[in-house]
C-alpha cells in the first residue's frame, strides 16, 4: 500500500514536473522586434546635438497594444538622440499611483516631463505644480483642463476619427450606389470620453450626409469582446452595408466573427491603425477596406518636441522661435492605395 502510494506519488509528481518544464518553455514570444516609430536624424539645425536634455516620462502600464506602442516609441525616439536622457517611471494602475511615481520623478530634476496621464482631470494638479516649479510639461493625448498645467499638448483627434470613418464610408456607399444603407458601429469602452467623441464625430458626419447608424454594439478594446459585439450586431442586422469598428485590436475579434458568421456583404473601416490591420488592408482579402489612424507615433513626436523645448528651440519649418502650445494630429484614412506608406507607423 505504502509503496503503491509512493509510486503513484512519484508518477504524479514526475508528470506534474515535466508538464511544468514543458509549459515554462512555452512562454517565449521571441520574434523580430516590431520597429518603433522614430524619426531618424535628418538634416537641419534642430537635429544637431545640442544642450543635454533629461526627459522624465510616464505612461500608464500597458494593457493594450496602443499604450505599449506609446512607451516603446518614446523610448526608441529618445534613444535616437545623443543629447537626450530618458528617465521613465511606471505609472502604476491608477491616477494616485501615477501621482506617486511622478513625485519621485520630479526629485530627479528632469528638464522636461512627458506625461500620458491616467486621467487628465485627476493629474491636472500635478501639471500645475510641475510648471510652477519650472519644469515644462508635455501632455500626451489626455488633456489637462487647465491651460497653465502644460507647456505643450499633443494629442490625437478622436472626433476627427469618427469624421474620417464616416466620410470614407459615405464615399464608398455613394460610389456603389447604395440607397438607404445599413451602417453598424462597434465602439470601444462606451463610458470613456474618447469613445463618445469618436461616436459623435461619426454620427454627426453621417447625419450631415443624411445617413445614420442602424445599430451600435460596444466592445471593450479586446478581441474577445469585439467578437461578441460583432456577433450581436450580425444578429440584429441581417443585411449590413458598412461597419465602423473603432479599434483594430478588437477588430481581430470582429474579423473572426465575420468569418464565423460567414458574412461578406459589407465593408468595414477600422480604427487606430495597427500593423495587422494595415497588412489586411494591403492584402485586400478581408472585409476590412480602410482604417482611420490614431497613431501612437505621437509619443515619438512628443519626445522630439520635449527635446526642442528643453533646448529652447522652435520647430524649424515654422516661423516661431518656440514649439507651439497645442498639436492635434489629423486622423488619416489608410486604404489599399496608401497602406504601404503607413505600414512603418503601424503598431
Amino acid at each position: 500500500m505504502t509503496s503503491d502510494l509512493s509510486r503513484r506519488r512519484l508518477l504524479f509528481g514526475g508528470a506534474a514536473l515535466s508538464a511544468g518544464v514543458l509549459l515554462a518553455g512555452c512562454t517565449s514570444n521571441e520574434q523580430t522586434p516590431t520597429e518603433a516609430q522614430t524619426k531618424a536624424a535628418a538634416t537641419g539645425a534642430n537635429q544637431e546635438p545640442g544642450k543635454k536634455v533629461t526627459i522624465g516620462f510616464s505612461a500608464p502600464a500597458a494593457d493594450h497594444g496602443w499604450i505599449a506602442a506609446i512607451t516603446n516609441n518614446a523610448k526608441a525616439q529618445a534613444g535616437a538622440y545623443s543629447d537626450v536622457e530618458l528617465k521613465s517611471v511606471e505609472a502604476g494602475s491608477d491616477a494616485a499611483a501615477q501621482r506617486a511615481a511622478l513625485s519621485t520623478l520630479i526629485s530627479q530634476k528632469p528638464d522636461v516631463i512627458v506625461l500620458l496621464p491616467h486621467d487628465g482631470k485627476e493629474l491636472n494638479a500635478f501639471g500645475l505644480e510641475a510648471m510652477k516649479a519650472g519644469i515644462p510639461v508635455v501632455n500626451l493625448d489626455r488633456a489637462f483642463p487647465d491651460a497653465r498645467a502644460y507647456r505643450l499638448q499633443i494629442k490625437g483627434d478622436n472626433y476627427g476619427m469618427g469624421v474620417a470613418a464616416a466620410t470614407y464610408i459615405a464615399e464608398q456607399l455613394k460610389a456603389k450606389g447604395v440607397s438607404n444603407p445599413v451602417i453598424g458601429e462597434i465602439p470601444g469602452i462606451d463610458s470613456l470620453e474618447l469613445t463618445q467623441e469618436r461616436s459623435k464625430g461619426f454620427a454627426d458626419t453621417l447625419a450631415s450626409l443624411g445617413l445614420k447608424v442602424a445599430n451600435r454594439r460596444p466592445a471593450e478594446f479586446t478581441a474577445d469582446s469585439g467578437q461578441q459585439a460583432a456577433t450581436g450586431l450580425f444578429q440584429a442586422l441581417p443585411k449590413i452595408d458598412a461597419i465602423w469598428n473603432h479599434d483594430d485590436d478588437q477588430g481581430i475579434g470582429v474579423l473572426a466573427a465575420v468569418n464565423q458568421a460567414n458574412r461578406k456583404e459589407f465593408f468595414m473601416v477600422g480604427g487606430a491603425g495597427s500593423k495587422k490591420a494595415m497588412e489586411d488592408i494591403a492584402a485586400d482579402n478581408t472585409v476590412l477596406k480602410a482604417t482611420v489612424t490614431y497613431s501612437p507615433s505621437m509619443a515619438s513626436s512628443a519626445i522630439s518636441l520635449a527635446r526642442l523645448i528643453g533646448q529652447g528651440k522652435g520647430m524649424s519649418d515654422l516661423v516661431e522661435l518656440q514649439v507651439p502650445k497645442e498639436i492635434v494630429l489629423a486622423s488619416e484614412t489608410i486604404t489599399k492605395e496608401n497602406a504601404s506608406d503607413y505600414l512603418k507607423l503601424g503598431f
Partner: protein, 369 residues
C-alpha cells in the same frame, strides 16, 4: 479513490440499495431527499420548481423578442440561427460556470476564473506554444488552468486563506502574469485547427455548443451520480460534519478548485478560437458572469446546494438578454441594469424560499420527534 476511511454510519448505509462501494453519509442523506425526483432536478426538493421558473423567464424573454422584432422572428431560418448564436455566446461562460457551480456548492468561491481564462489563453498562444501545433496549445491551456486551480485550492485548504481573498489575489496575479507573458500585446492565433473550433458546424450545430453540452453533461453526472458530487454537497453543506464522516475535506477542496481551473482551461481554448487571438485583458469580468449565472440558477452562495442545469439556464438567460438588447439596438448600460435587477430578484426569491424551507424543516422536526 480508494482512500475513504470507514464512516460513522455503516448501519444506515447498509439499509440502502447497493450503490457504488464507498458510501458517504452525505450520500445517504442525499438519497433520502432525492428519492423519486425527476432527472433534471439536481438537488433539493425545490430545484425543479426553480428550474421551471428559469424556463418561464426564458420564455418571457423570447416573447419580448417576438413582440419587439416581429420582422426578425417571422423568419424561421433567422430564429434557428439566432438560437444557435445565443447558445454559442453562452458556451464559454457556460463552461466556466460549471466549474464555478462546483466550487460554490463546495462552500467556496472562485474570483479568479476570468484571469485564469486569460492566462491560459495567453499561454497557449505564445509563439513558442503555437510552434507545437494545436495539441501543444490545448495541452498548455488545460495544464495552466488546472495548475492555477490547484494553487487556489492549496491556498484555500492548506494555507487556510479565505476563498474570497485567495482567489482575489490569484485574479490580480494571473492577469499580471498574462500581461507579462504577452507583453501586453494581442497574440494572434494562426492555428487553423484551434481557430476552426469556433467556425466549425457539425450537423448544422456549432462545435462550441457541443463542447458546452459535453461539459454540462459531465458536470451533471459528476455532481449527481458520483461520490465526488455527493462529497461536494456534503463539504459545502457542513464541512465539519463531512470531516467527521471521513471525507478528506481539504483534499476535496483542492480538487474542486482544480476542476474550476480545468473548466477555465477549456473555456480559454474556446474563447481563443472565437477571437482567433488572446490577450491579458480577455474574459474580462467572467467571474461575475459565472457567479451571477450560478446564483440565479439556484446555487446557494453559502454552499451545500446547487444544480448544473440551473446554472446552465442562468447562463442562457443572460446571453438571451444580451441578444435581446442587441437586436433592439438598445444600449449596454440599460442591459447591465436589467441584469443587475435579475440577480437581485433571484437572490430575493432564494432567500424567501430558503426561509420557508428552514421553517418547514423546523416544523417537520417538531412533529416527528
Amino acid at each position: 479513490m480508494s482512500d475513504t476511511t470507514p464512516t460513522a454510519a455503516p448501519e444506515r448505509a447498509a439499509s440502502l440499495p447497493a450503490q457504488s462501494p464507498p458510501v458517504d453519509p452525505a450520500e445517504t442523506a442525499k438519497a433520502d431527499r432525492s428519492a423519486g425526483l425527476s432527472w433534471w432536478r439536481g438537488d433539493g426538493g425545490e430545484g425543479a420548481k426553480r428550474n421551471l421558473g428559469l424556463l418561464a423567464t426564458l420564455v418571457v424573454l423570447v416573447v419580448i423578442g417576438i413582440l419587439t422584432r416581429p420582422d426578425l422572428y417571422g423568419d424561421a431560418s433567422w430564429v434557428w440561427g439566432n438560437t444557435l448564436t445565443i447558445l454559442k455566446l453562452a458556451s464559454v461562460v457556460g463552461v466556466v460556470t460549471v466549474g464555478m457551480t462546483f466550487v460554490i456548492i463546495g462552500g467556496g468561491i472562485d474570483l479568479s476564473v476570468g484571469a485564469i481564462v486569460a492566462l491560459a489563453g495567453v499561454w497557449c498562444t505564445t509563439l513558442a506554444t503555437q510552434s507545437y501545433g494545436a495539441g501543444g496549445m490545448i495541452f498548455s491551456a488545460l495544464t495552466v488552468g488546472v495548475a492555477v486551480g490547484l494553487v487556489n485550492g492549496l491556498l484555500v485548504s492548506y494555507g487556510r486563506l479565505v476563498p474570497f481573498i485567495a482567489t482575489l489575489a490569484m485574479m490580480v496575479a494571473a492577469r499580471g502574469l498574462a500581461a507579462e507573458i504577452s507583453d501586453k500585446q494581442t497574440q494572434v492565433s494562426n492555428d487553423t485547427f484551434i481557430n476552426g473550433i469556433a467556425s466549425t458546424n457539425v450537423l448544422g450545430i456549432p462545435l462550441l455548443v457541443y463542447i458546452l453540452a459535453a461539459v454540462v453533461l459531465a458536470g451533471w453526472v459528476l455532481l449527481n451520480r458520483t461520490t465526488f458530487g455527493r462529497r461536494t454537497v456534503a463539504v459545502g453543506g457542513n464541512p465539519e460534519a463531512a470531516r467527521l464522516a471521513g471525507i478528506n475535506v481539504r483534499r476535496h477542496t483542492v480538487l474542486l478548485y482544480a476542476l474550476s481551473g480545468l473548466c477555465c482551461g477549456i473555456a480559454a481554448i474556446m474563447l481563443t478560437a472565437q477571437a482567433t487571438s488572446a490577450q491579458a485583458a480577455m474574459a474580462n469580468l467572467y467571474e461575475l458572469d459565472a457567479i451571477a449565472a450560478a446564483i440565479i440558477g439556484g446555487t446557494l452562495l453559502s454552499g451545500g446546494r446547487g444544480t448544473i442545469i440551473g446554472s446552465l439556464l442562468g447562463v442562457i438567460i443572460f446571453s438571451t438578454i444580451t441578444n435581446l438588447f442587441a437586436i433592439n439596438g438598445l444600449s449596454t448600460e440599460a442591459q447591465n441594469m436589467v441584469k443587475g435587477g435579475i440577480i437581485v430578484a433571484a437572490v430575493l426569491v432564494q432567500q424567501v424560499q430558503f426561509r420557508s424551507l428552514t421553517q418547514f424543516l423546523a416544523r417537520n422536526r417538531a412533529t416527528t420527534t
